[in-house]
Structures are given as structure tokens and as C-alpha cells.
């Protein structure tokens, strides 16, 4: 485990800012204690200072997970968000998409979201903007990327993709063995 380098921090923040914008500040500077990002096995974990200090007692090869996994760095140095980060992204999300109850299951099985399943969408969403996907009952289901802007969404036919799937809470079951 080690702190992120400046470059890694930048890559991760750029990815996070696609979903929560400048709200990253609220994750970095929390009033309820000192929280930090740490890299372990190419994965970025977000944890409190207290947990970090406790985790130092565990040897590197035995440590599976600590705090909350936000995502991982690929071999090419890109940052991929994991579904485990949803708890921290959902409250601060700037752009949201609500899924109709009928399309919820399809999304939770890892499919893209079609226009027919789109319940609501935040006004002024741009194309390729990171969005957090909610059910109509305001339960966060996952996140993705807007395939069309809000304006375009109104015009396209019902079978076209409006949100590209990135991660959904179904992964907690589907990829149970790889999520940390």
C-alpha cells in the first residue's frame, strides 16, 4: 500500500470529476475526520486515517481490501471506476438518469440503457457525460456514460441507446470474486 503519485491522483480525479464534478473536494476534505486514497494491488482504496493505521499491521500479500475500493488502474495507466465506489458517487452526482421499473432488470444485467427505459434525465446533460443511474424510487443502481445529450434524447427513436452501461449493482453478484 502506498499513497498515489501526483500523476495517478490526477488521472483518478479526472475520472471522478466526470461524475461528481468539483464535489471531489468533499471527499478529500471531510469535516468528520481525515480520509485518504491509497493504492494497493493497482486498486485505489478510500479509507479513514484510522483504518489505514490499523491496516498497516497486515502484510502486503495478505491484505485483500481496506476501506472502499474506488477502482483500479489498468496496465496502460487509465483509471476504471468500480461499482463499490457508487456509495460515494451517488450522493454527489451532478447528472442523473432515472430508469423505468421495466428496464431496471435489463440494466442490472449489464445492458446499455435504451430510450424506451429512460424515465427521467437531468436537464442539460452533455453527450459522453458520466451519469449515475437511479431507479424511479431513487435507489442508485450504477453508473454509465450518456450516449446522447438531453436534447437529443427527446428526438431519438425508442430503441436507441441513451446511456452506456459502465457498472451496476448486479456486479456485486456477477463478479463477486473479483470485486474487493
Amino acid at each position: 500500500m502506498r499513497p498515489l503519485t501526483e500523476e495517478e491522483t490526477k488521472t483518478m480525479f479526472e475520472k471522478l470529476s466526470k461524475y461528481i464534478g468539483e464535489n471531489i473536494k468533499l471527499l478529500v476534505d471531510r469535516p468528520d475526520g481525515s480520509y485518504c486514497f491509497r493504492l494497493h494491488n493497482d486498486r485505489v482504496y478510500y479509507m479513514s486515517e484510522k483504518i489505514l493505521k490499523l491496516a498497516t499491521n497486515i502484510s502486503r500479500d495478505k491484505l485483500v481490501s481496506v476501506g472502499t475500493c474506488f477502482g483500479k488502474f489498468t496496465k496502460t495507466g487509465k483509471f476504471r471506476l468500480h461499482i463499490t465506489a457508487l456509495d460515494f458517487l451517488a450522493p454527489y452526482a451532478k447528472f442523473k438518469v432515472w430508469v423505468k421499473p421495466g428496464a431496471e432488470q435489463s440494466f442490472l444485467y449489464g445492458n446499455h440503457l435504451l430510450k424506451s427505459g429512460l424515465g427521467r434525465i437531468t436537464e442539460n446533460t452533455n453527450q459522453y457525460q458520466g451519469v449515475v443511474v437511479y431507479s424511479m424510487a431513487d435507489v442508485p443502481l450504477g453508473f454509465g456514460v450518456a450516449a446522447k445529450s438531453t436534447q437529443e434524447c427527446r428526438r431519438v427513436d425508442p430503441m436507441s441507446i441513451v446511456v452506456f452501461h459502465q457498472a451496476d449493482v448486479g456486479e456485486f453478484i456477477r463478479s463477486e470474486d473479483t470485486l474487493t
Partner: protein
């Protein structure tokens, strides 16, 4: 009577005095041997056997002998220099002269180690080696080091101080460093330098990765991240073109919807006013072509409640075209 008594008293006093003096001085045939350090006195005088025979006499004899000898020992102690410490008189005893036996048995010798046993078996003896070898070059090297120290003290850069100065015997390390320095000492920093077939790249050129400590200064880490965020924010483009276009599109849509609404509301009024005011408005040039075109499209679609289906696109296109032109002109 009185005189007699006085004489008697004087005599008695004299006797007492003598006894007192006698009590301090003890006469012995042979002098005692003293070891003041151990507070030890040895009496080598002969003992009368008959003194030791009878019970009561023996006790008295032994007691007086012990007293006399102790007196002698005390006398001997008084001969030493004394001083007064916190109201008591103290004499400093000399070092003991009589060797005393030790309390515990002497320690056993350490059993020989395995190596010592082996060495004894093989007859290996420890030789003392001397590392000192006469070095002819030492004088020159000392002089060189002295100059280098002076240079370092004055912060002067010494050319080739990193082991590149020629020596009689250069190590492999120094030679490789010399090679890499020589190779990079070209105008292109060694970029076009030819390589030997199996030559490895220079090791020293690599940059070592260095990470912050795992548990370091949390506040400074936070500051750094906030600084980075601030920088990222400032680098964002101020005008997002797609966003601006979207905004424009949305405004148009809303305007259009508003216009449509108004027109729909106006139609009812218009019908009654058609004969008089309608023509006047048309004459002002609000769009002679627009009205007739809008009426047939709007009437059939609008009445059954099919506003979004047929009416919007037709009107939107016509209206949009006009409005798009307006902002461009301004």
C-alpha cells in the same frame, strides 16, 4: 579522723587513677600482630594451661584476655588519623593485609568451543595478521585528498571527481562510469553514439521511483490534492461548445413551445376577430405565407388533441429557420 579520711580518700583516688590508666595500657610479653584493615589482632603469647582448667577462672581469664587484646586493637586504631563526621569520630582504616578466602567457589573454566576443539585437534594456531602494508602511493593520494577536501570546503566543482580521475588500477564500476560519461559527452548527449553489439544500457541513467510514505503528513497530502483540484478546475475551457449548442437548442424548443401555446390560445380569439383584425395584421407583414400554411396544418391536428404529433415538427421547422437566422444577424 578527718585527716585520716582525707588521706584515705586521696589514696583511693590515686588507686582509681592508676587502675584507669592501667586499663588503657596493657602489658604483654610479645607484641600483638595487627591487621587494622580487617580489624584483626593476633596474640602469640603463651597460654597458661592451668588458667584454662577450672570453670569460673577460665571464664574470667578468657574475658580479661579478650578485653586486653581488644583494648590493644582499639589503641592501635586510635593511632590512625581521625576526623569528625557529623559529630562522631571516624578513623580511616588502611587496606587489609591478610588475604581472606572467597565466599563462593572459583568459576569453572569455559568449555572449549567446537572450533577450539577442532583447532586443537588439527593443531591450528591463531596467527596475528597485520593489515598495515607500506604504500608508496599514499603520500600522493593524501595530498590529492587534502586538495579535494579544500575544494569541497570552498564548494568548487572538481572536474572528474566522481571516480573519473585516472588511477593505476580502476575498478569495473569506475570504468563503466567513465565509459557512460564519455559517451554522453557529445553535443547530442550521446544520442547518436554507436553501441557495441552486446553493450548494456548505462545503469546510472535510470531514475528511481520514489513514493511518499504510507503514513506521512495527512494535512499536506490533502493540501496537495486540493491544489490539484483547483488547477484542474482552472484548466477547464470556459466555453463548452456542445453545451452552448445544447442550450441554444433548448431555448429554441421552449420558445417554440411558448409560441405554439400562444397561437393555440389566440386561435380561439382569432376566429371571432377574423374578419376585422386578422387582415390588418397580415397586412403588417408578419408572414403572409405563414398564416395560410399554419391554418390547414394546425386546425385538423390541433382539435383532436394531436398537438405534439403533427403540429410541432412542421411549425418548428418553419419557426426554427427564422429564429436561427436572427441571432446570426445580431
Amino acid at each position: 579522723m578527718e585527716a585520716c579520711s582525707v588521706e584515705e580518700l586521696l589514696a583511693k583516688a590515686e588507686q582509681d587513677e592508676a587502675e584507669k590508666l592501667k586499663s588503657i595500657t596493657v602489658q604483654k610479653e610479645l607484641d600483638l600482630e595487627f591487621d587494622i584493615g580487617n580489624l584483626l589482632a593476633c596474640d602469640k603469647n603463651r597460654l597458661e594451661l592451668r588458667d584454662l582448667k577450672k570453670g569460673q577462672k577460665k571464664q574470667d581469664f578468657l574475658r580479661s584476655l579478650a578485653r586486653d587484646n581488644t583494648q590493644l586493637l582499639i589503641n592501635e586504631i586510635w593511632k590512625l588519623p581521625t576526623e569528625r563526621v557529623e559529630g562522631t569520630i571516624v578513623a580511616k582504616l588502611p587496606a587489609p593485609a591478610t588475604p581472606l578466602p572467597r565466599e563462593k567457589p572459583p568459576p569453572k573454566p569455559r568449555p572449549p568451543t567446537k572450533w577450539e576443539e577442532f583447532a586443537k585437534l588439527k593443531g591450528i594456531q591463531k596467527k596475528k595478521k597485520t593489515n598495515l602494508v607500506w604504500d608508496e602511493n599514499r603520500v600522493a593520494r593524501n595530498e590529492f585528498n587534502r586538495l579535494r577536501n579544500i575544494a569541497r570546503a570552498q564548494k568548487v566543482k572538481v572536474p572528474g571527481a566522481g571516480g573519473l580521475t585516472p588511477k593505476a588500477q580502476q575498478s569495473k564500476d569506475e570504468l563503466t562510469r567513465a565509459v557512460s560519461v564519455a559517451k554522453t559527452s557529445t553535443a547530442s548527449m550521446g544520442r547518436f553514439q554507436e553501441r557495441l553489439p552486446k553493450e548494456k544500457p548505462a545503469k546510472s541513467s535510470g531514475k528511481k521511483r520514489k513514493f511518499e510514505p504510507l503514513i506521512g503528513d495527512f494535512s499536506s497530502e490533502k493540501e496537495k490534492q486540493l491544489e490539484l483540484l483547483k488547477l484542474m478546475e482552472s484548466k477547464k475551457p470556459k466555453l463548452d461548445i456542445t453545451k452552448a449548442v445544447n442550450k441554444q437548442l433548448r431555448e429554441e424548443d421552449s420558445e417554440e413551445a411558448a409560441a405554439k401555446h400562444k397561437r393555440g390560445a389566440g386561435k380561439k380569439n382569432r376566429r371571432s376577430n377574423m374578419g376585422g383584425k386578422g387582415k390588418g395584421k397580415g397586412g403588417k407583414g408578419r408572414g403572409g405565407g405563414g398564416k395560410p400554411g399554419g391554418k390547414p396544418g394546425g386546425k385538423p391536428g390541433g382539435k383532436p388533441g394531436g398537438k405534439p404529433g403533427g403540429g410541432k415538427p412542421g411549425a418548428g421547422r418553419a419557426g426554427g429557420g427564422k429564429k436561427k437566422g436572427k441571432p446570426g444577424k445580431h
